[in-house]
């Protein structure tokens, strides 16, 4: 493609806020036909927000986009598609119960006879074969999508985009679940699309791939565009430096680490589960805050779910509070004094339609029904609920009446912590405890974490924000690709080194 061709797509001054927090500031970029634009940045740097705006998933607050000089302001993914923009999502949007051909034409099949509803199966098959050939996918058109591998499904998505005559294709982390061979094949296809004049936006943490594929690279940090250059003027080192930046404006409560940590409260030896995590070894001591860093999909939440007995594991052993727990289950883990704050508090942590008091009491009800009839001792329970709610400072007038769904994100998170506090746990697993809550509430969550540790509990703190971890933890483990890749004691905290370890998989691929 002619590198001097004029851009046909431009975006300027894109801004987006969620609940008063601006997550994207003045984003701007343009695309030429056949250009591959790489978009890199840490988790939460605004990459997905940008692409969701371009793909019509989110509306923009401010800014302007044009296609061929004409105003472009999509209100739905359908509209974006009609204007020639296809989004190949990380979570593929295919119908697994339908065939490949049906997936390609589900929005409108060619008809056998005009005016009648019957599908022209022969035409569907022929057209599908053509599109599949264009992406080098050798499967029969009537193969059910459920039989295809992750990589093959991705090719089907691309074929679908080709069928819709897309001019811009957006790839969001397309290689995370692909084998090396599938990745190579994907890159061949992307090269082919490029030669056909299709512009590509490529989002990835695998910086080596970005260097290999892209003509131009845009780096985002905290919603700001911090670097934009042609491949020739960019290196992996430079990308990492730009991504990390040097803005530390976040506030953390002072943390005085205890002089001597207690004995181990959680020990994990050689924990493995195929396809999820491999050979995990870690030891968490009483009074310690142990951070787990890593990129999206590094296996952190999966590890947490296994440790709390929600998912199975194949080999390895787990000891909680010094006793080996053979059969992990949420009930067994709770009995041994483990508490788990899930990443998705709406779905797993809270009953939205119930009061704060009911939510806080939920996990400890058996402790308050110890008389012969097992009736719940309302008064004692009520006192305890009031006590922990004070301890975590839930701002609500009436604990018994206020429904959890009416609380802010921060207060909801405090209600979950309160729920577990009632149980006096010795091990706390916190999975993204500050996601989606405002700065003030974050500070209060940090204070609670410090209190927990000071009270002798061990805290496993999972977070995507490296700053939060360096601010809060005594030690940080870095996960990548389901394995623990590095360990940093507090004295050696270095954001760049942590990020580099998290990107181990990506850097390795490029080597």
């Amino acid at each position: 493609m002619d590198v001097n061709a004029a851009p046909f797509f431009t975006a300027q001054g894109l801004c987006k806020s969620f609940f008063g927090v601006q997550v994207l500031h003045d984003m701007a970029f343009s695309l030429r036909p056949g250009q591959v634009l790489g978009l890199v940045g840490e988790n939460g740097s605004g990459k997905s927000t940008t692409m969701n705006i371009v793909g019509g998933v989110l509306p923009m607050d401010a800014g302007r986009m044009t296609i061929d000089g004409a105003e472009y302001r999509p209100r739905s993914p359908g509209e974006a598609e009609a204007r020639g923009i296809a989004f190949i999502h990380q979570e593929l949007n295919l119908f697994r119960n339908l065939s490949v051909a049906e997936n390609l034409f589900i929005a409108g099949f060619p008809k056998l006879i005009k005016g009648l509803p019957f599908i022209d199966r022969a035409k569907v098959r022929a057209r599908t074969q053509e599109l599949l050939a264009a992406v080098d996918l050798d499967v029969a058109p009537n193969t059910p999508v459920s039989r295809l591998s992750q990589g093959e499904r991705q090719l089907v998505e691309i074929a679908k985009a080709l069928g819709a005559n897309a001019r811009i294709m957006i790839f969001d982390e397309p290689t995370t679940s692909l084998t090396t061979r599938e990745t190579d094949r994907l890159f061949d296809i992307i090269g082919r699309l490029q030669r056909q004049g299709i512009a590509i936006i490529y989002i990835s943490h695998i910086l080596g791939d970005v260097m290999r594929l892209c003509d131009d690279i845009v780096v985002l940090r905290d919603g700001h565009l911090v670097g934009s250059a042609a491949k020739a003027d960019m290196t992996i080192e430079k990308m990492i430096t730009l991504m990390v930046g040097r803005t530390i404006d976040q506030m953390f409560p002072p943390r005085d680490p205890p002089v001597t940590l207690g004995g181990p409260v959680l020990e994990v030896r050689g924990l493995s589960q195929r396809g999820m995590v491999k050979d995990i070894n870690l030891s968490l001591r009483a009074g310690e805050v142990l951070g787990i860093s890593g990129l999206m999909g590094a296996g952190r939440s999966e590890l947490a779910r296994i440790l709390f007995g929600m998912d199975p594991f194949e080999s390895g052993e787990v000891s909680i509070g010094g006793t080996k727990v053979a059969a992990l289950s949420p009930a067994a883990c709770m009995d041994h004094g483990m508490a788990f704050l899930t990443e998705d508090r709406r779905a797993e942590g809270l009953m939205m339609e119930a009061s704060i008091a009911d939510n806080v009491a939920l996990a400890s009800l058996p402790k308050f029904g110890t008389t012969w009839a097992r009736f719940i001792e309302r008064t004692r329970l009520g006192d305890e609920v009031t006590r922990v709610s004070k301890a975590v400072q839930i701002n609500a007038r009436d604990l018994q009446r206020t429904l959890v769904k009416n609380l802010s994100g921060g207060n909801q998170q405090k209600a979950v912590i309160g729920k577990w506090l009632l149980h006096h746990p010795r091990v706390f697993i916190l999975d993204e405890p500050t996601r989606g809550i405002d700065v003030g509430a974050k500070y209060e969550v940090y204070k609670i974490v410090n209190q927990l540790a000071a009270g002798g509990a061990g805290v496993l703190f999972i977070s995507s924000e490296i700053e939060e971890l360096t601010g809060m933890c005594d030690r940080i483990l870095v996960m990548a690709h389901g394995e623990i890749r590095a360990e940093f004691p507090r004295t050696d905290f270095d954001r760049e080194a942590i990020l580099r370890a998290a990107m181990w998989h990506g850097l390795k691929e490029s080597a």
Partner: protein, 331 residues
């Protein structure tokens, strides 16, 4: 192909068994009843089974559309009774070619009311159709004065008629089946029903008018309930106040037994026909073997339990097989 977890082969075998559980059950039942009664394995008896299964089968075909999008319609029994009451009370003197289409339209309207509440007011399908189940029967009982409703003699003679040697009930069953089968497998609308059932959000993103599809399937269920009601009342000639009462149980059981998932997206009307015939075979077999009539509900409920159990086991296994993996384990 990417690596699958090691238990997958065992799970695939289990899946195969689960998928074919109703067929295995059917074969076992045929053999058992056949041994117990000499009259069971005869052509006449099987024609009878089909005639008796026709009305359940037709309504279950409509139910299949609803379950395919992951919905439910509990109100079909009330729909049947309204159709019977209107036909017997007000349209008795009209020729059947006029009155039958008219009451079928009433069934359609009943389905459209369900659909309107579900798609426009976003009331859960379970609640909506549970309410219309009571409201519908209540209205019809008010007009019928809780008394038997009789029909014109032509209705009964239609019920007893045969064309080309095939009884009318089986004709109706076959025609509804063919139309439904072609619609589901050969039209855009049909394939989009499967897409909506698999993932309504993704279907919306793919440009499918989800609301229109959902609306349509409840209308189809209403029409099928009306047709099934007509087939049933033409066999019995009168409709008591319990006509259609609790029909939702055998209908949903037949659909699920035929392999249509309660969770949406999987199944089809061919299986539904099979399911309806299977349930009728059991009832017929129990009669033929002079089983204690108090045993019938027990046996039927065991079969319904098997159907629902098989469906949820299969769904959870499929979910486990489909779980996204983080690591790609190289062989």
């Amino acid at each position: 192909m990417s690596a699958r977890d090691p238990g997958s082969r065992g799970r695939h075998t289990t899946l195969f068994l689960l998928r074919n559980a109703p067929v295995l059950l059917f074969i076992v039942l045929l053999a058992a009843f056949g041994m117990m009664s000499g009259r069971f394995l005869t052509v006449t008896n099987f024609v009878n089974i089909f005639i008796q299964a026709a009305h359940i089968g037709i309504i279950a075909i409509g139910m299949t559309f609803v379950l395919l999008i992951g919905g439910i319609d509990l109100s079909i029994g009330a729909n049947m009774y309204i159709v019977a009451a209107v036909l017997g009370l007000y349209l008795k003197d009209l020729p059947l070619v006029v009155s039958f289409p008219l009451v079928t339209l009433i069934g359609l309207a009943f389905g459209a009311v369900n659909a309107w509440f579900i798609t426009r007011l976003r009331v859960a399908a379970f609640i909506t159709t549970l309410s219309t189940l009571f409201v519908g029967r209540g209205i019809a009982l008010y007009f019928s004065g809780n008394k038997m409703v009789g029909f014109s003699p032509e209705v009964l003679s239609l019920g007893r008629a045969s064309y080309l040697g095939v009884p009318s009930a089986i004709w109706a069953f076959a025609i509804v089946f063919i139309v439904a089968f072609v619609t589901l497998s050969q039209t855009t609308f049909g394939r989009q029903i499967y897409a909506v059932g698999a993932d309504a959000d993704a279907a919306g993103k793919a440009g499918i008018n989800v609301r229109r599809i959902v609306f349509s399937v409840y209308c189809i269920a209403g029409v099928c309930a009306a047709i099934g009601g007509l087939v049933s009342l033409s066999q019995v000639a009168v409709a008591s106040s319990t006509f259609g009462f609790q029909k939702e149980f055998p209908v949903i059981a037949a659909t699920v037994l035929g392999g249509t998932s309660l969770f949406g997206g999987r199944g089809g009307v061919l299986g539904t026909v099979f399911g309806a015939v299977l349930i009728q075979t059991v009832e017929n077999g129990l009669v033929m073997t002079d089983a204690d009539p108090y045993l019938y509900p027990l046996v039927i409920s065991v079969i319904i339990f098997i159907a629902v159990f098989v469906d949820s086991t299969r769904t959870s296994i499929l979910e486990r097989l489909e779980r996204r993996q983080i690591r790609v384990e190289r062989a």
